[in-house]
Symmetry: C2
Subunit: 573 residues, 2 copies
Amino acid sequence: MMSDPQARLERLTSMLRRRGVILPAFEIHGGVAGLFDFGPIGGRLRRRLNNAWLEHWAAQGDIVEIDSPTITPESVLIASGHVGEFNDHMSECNACGGVFRSDHLVEGFHSNPDVLAPKDLDQLISNNNVNCLTCGAMDWKDAQPMNLMFSTRIGTMKGGRTAYMRPETAQGMFMQFPALYRHFRNRLPFGAVQTGKGYRNEISPRQGMIRLREFNMAELEYFIDPEVESSHDFSKWVSSRFNFVPDPEFGEPLEMSPGEASTQNIIRHPTVAWFMARTWDFLVSVGIDPAKIRFRQHEGTEMAHYASDCWDAEIHGSYGWIECVGIAHRGCYDLAAHESATGDNNLRAWRPYDEPKIVDKTVLSGKGAVIGPSFRDQASAVNEALELLIDMPSKFPFELSLGNGDKVTIESEMVEEKRIQSTEHGEWFLPHVVEPAFGIDRILWHILDHAYLESEKGGEAYTVLRLSPSIAPIDVVILPLMEKDELAEMAHDIHRRICSTKNLASYYDGSGSIGRRYARADEVGVPWAVTIDHESLQNGSVTIRRRDDGKQVRIQSDDLVDTLTIGPSANLF
Amino acid sequence: MMSDPQARLERLTSMLRRRGVILPAFEIHGGVAGLFDFGPIGGRLRRRLNNAWLEHWAAQGDIVEIDSPTITPESVLIASGHVGEFNDHMSECNACGGVFRSDHLVEGFHSNPDVLAPKDLDQLISNNNVNCLTCGAMDWKDAQPMNLMFSTRIGTMKGGRTAYMRPETAQGMFMQFPALYRHFRNRLPFGAVQTGKGYRNEISPRQGMIRLREFNMAELEYFIDPEVESSHDFSKWVSSRFNFVPDPEFGEPLEMSPGEASTQNIIRHPTVAWFMARTWDFLVSVGIDPAKIRFRQHEGTEMAHYASDCWDAEIHGSYGWIECVGIAHRGCYDLAAHESATGDNNLRAWRPYDEPKIVDKTVLSGKGAVIGPSFRDQASAVNEALELLIDMPSKFPFELSLGNGDKVTIESEMVEEKRIQSTEHGEWFLPHVVEPAFGIDRILWHILDHAYLESEKGGEAYTVLRLSPSIAPIDVVILPLMEKDELAEMAHDIHRRICSTKNLASYYDGSGSIGRRYARADEVGVPWAVTIDHESLQNGSVTIRRRDDGKQVRIQSDDLVDTLTIGPSANLF
């Protein structure tokens, strides 16, 4: 029984729920599929994982944290392509009205059904006589796209406008490109990170923490100049063997270092390879088993509408191989899309030429006699914007964005075309973006899955969660041998002292046998247990027990905070 | 000009935008009122403030962090009262269709218009001849309540259900009461905190960061037994004078310590007084000027539908006195509401009696001959649930919740009433809740407002942001004297070393005069500036400058991390 993976998954899920790590949300109101709570133990685990992620990237020195709203006006998501493209297909049963994801209906008949077009889905459903999972009928409407965004309205019914809960944090970061460019004093490359909620209105959520309707995302947008050759130092990973699964069109699965994979052009862009290597470091540092990580390249048909190359970091666990990180080369897709939708030219970076160039060009010049009376106080702003215009308008009238964000309409009689010779010192261009996007919940799930160790003790089942001390939600449990006045008082004092220390959390557990209390702590991965006994009252020493081998030593209670913060001294164990 | 508060506010707002602290969101798409971005500098400021808040409460030792979804099914918010009561009133102009908040239209004609009933609002509008702000007409529809929640739908069109973006994080924490109660091994008092987004679909957002449609909340729910006398140690604040503004019905504004205010029953519950004192500590620790904090008690008409006493911590700044924290005694309102809506009896705590009591009581007992055939495998679960029933049903048939969450219908012929004598060892009761709820954005705004110091240097305007080093978003700027190879290389090395240190962030600024670069750093509140010059290359020493007095000393670059982490050594300055 212990080796049946499905039974193990059920025991793990049940433990996570019972101990307040991850629980179905709104359960007393009947619950909602795809929404989960992080409980009294899961809450801090999530926070620490999130913070570890932020620190990992901040250490690079050219990456800053930003935060943008989750409510996103429709125009942003039309420009980004989400209103048109962020769909799953669903099939409706004519007999009972049941609605299912079309790709789920044809699982087993195709290796990757979520890339199929609606007519191929219908064909597979029909060829394989797929029955309705509810009523058993075989009478389907044609597969229809269903947009996966949660929609809402900003403002009152009357004056309101459509908006969506963001499907990714990335768009908010593209919006901030002008602020980022200023912050980094106009020098590429640089990056921004954002962590927070993302939303996806799944048709039928399943697989626990894998398919959520509201999830914790952590994304990084790294802006680069496509004409500058990226150089990255891969020497750190020279003897690491990563598992790569390239697009079958390009080759077979293989093991090699990320530097080699970049040199051999298996990974097409060195900055993508760099973020794959740094992603691997992060995953391993928070407790993912390196043998259970692989990088799989998206096939052409599978690639998102914005990506020119994409690798998933997949992690193996109770649900098989699951995509937990996507590392995509988005090119200039997003910045170009927002520029084109808004006419705003603040999404570009400046590339100075080595030598100034003298170029012939056509410019629009405002006719003073028309511009002045037409635009009054704005006249000089209009002339300025005309001078800065990079592309000639294809037709008149056209909309011109002024420096202050206002827009004006320019008629053909307001301007004249002039051929001029100008000395150009550089050019404005759209930066390219490499984006590592992390699903924090999926990573957290796999950390728990890999850490969960079942064994036996004295004939009974015994489980330990071998969480890395860097993210364990409780650093130490404080156990008075008995809950008598003085022992409990000393235990409470120690508990409060540890809780008052930045980045440390302790849990006071006063009742039950010491063995039972150790077991409760081991079950949720507390790395250290401290017992206060009668000797403690006499000389201030306490017993400290290490989770992973159960070894115990006595130390002075005054040394506890240091031991927990910087780790036990060399000879202690 | 320097002393005109409106002009100062505009300069501050413009600096925050220019430097990437707080910016209007989605600006290139035209923006949305009431939605803001935290930029490359604001992002980390927000994170540090949030973390400081979490650490402040975690230090208490009986408070844990949890996290629940922002999407909330309708039934939860019907039970909590938000679907019915979370409204503002709006007035619509018959002439132009413009929609305004009714209480905004009558500002100046009433001291607290947001507590007025719709007919009183209409009366004031009519008596004072209030014109439409858009078209100038004076032809209003009756004031109508508008619910302030953003609504959405979970799932597909057909099978979907109504949900809302949460108006507060609190309901998610009440949902988790059973998990919290288990976590704390069934012992009150204990608390949970949650930080995250809250949503309020304002009719007409204004006042910058004060009225947002999406905001950062930080709430604490502290569960207590109403029959246990709370004891709190107020000795820490014995010589602190807080400003209290009680409900005018009860008294005049006064200054006193929180302990006194509790003893004199100005604050009705000692646990409310305790959280007010701890709130004051927090606000002062993150940089709020203590002279600009006051505690104002809600008047009866103003109190939220759930509260039995409520005090706001108000902070004074550019917008006058603004509510930034609400500390409410919610009684058992919420837990009772969810119990009554769901019939779930897991929201109670157990209170043992000092002595067992023998009581006569009426119980329902299932008739075996009917229960068995009616419920088959569930029969024993039904009998068990009948035994546990606390209140007799007022009528038949009624719905009975089983231990596994299922519900069954009980007809009168299935049961018989029995009078029994039973020995009771305790009772199940609904805990009371004290809730300090923080608006992180409003606090952050006031931190900036209080820290922003305008002066002159060499005849030019000069501004410094005197942020507390505990929350400053950049700990240090690294300035090579010139951007020559070796100086820049050493500066980059130091920059990377600091960024790799947990909880430290540095900013590399290579170009411009040193004076200009100091000014840029002072403007966004960087506490320390480090300059690398030719001497640095020779002996490894650097100049470190303190923001608040401009004083500079040389230290070894190897000592920098310690100096920044634990503060400068005693004799350094």
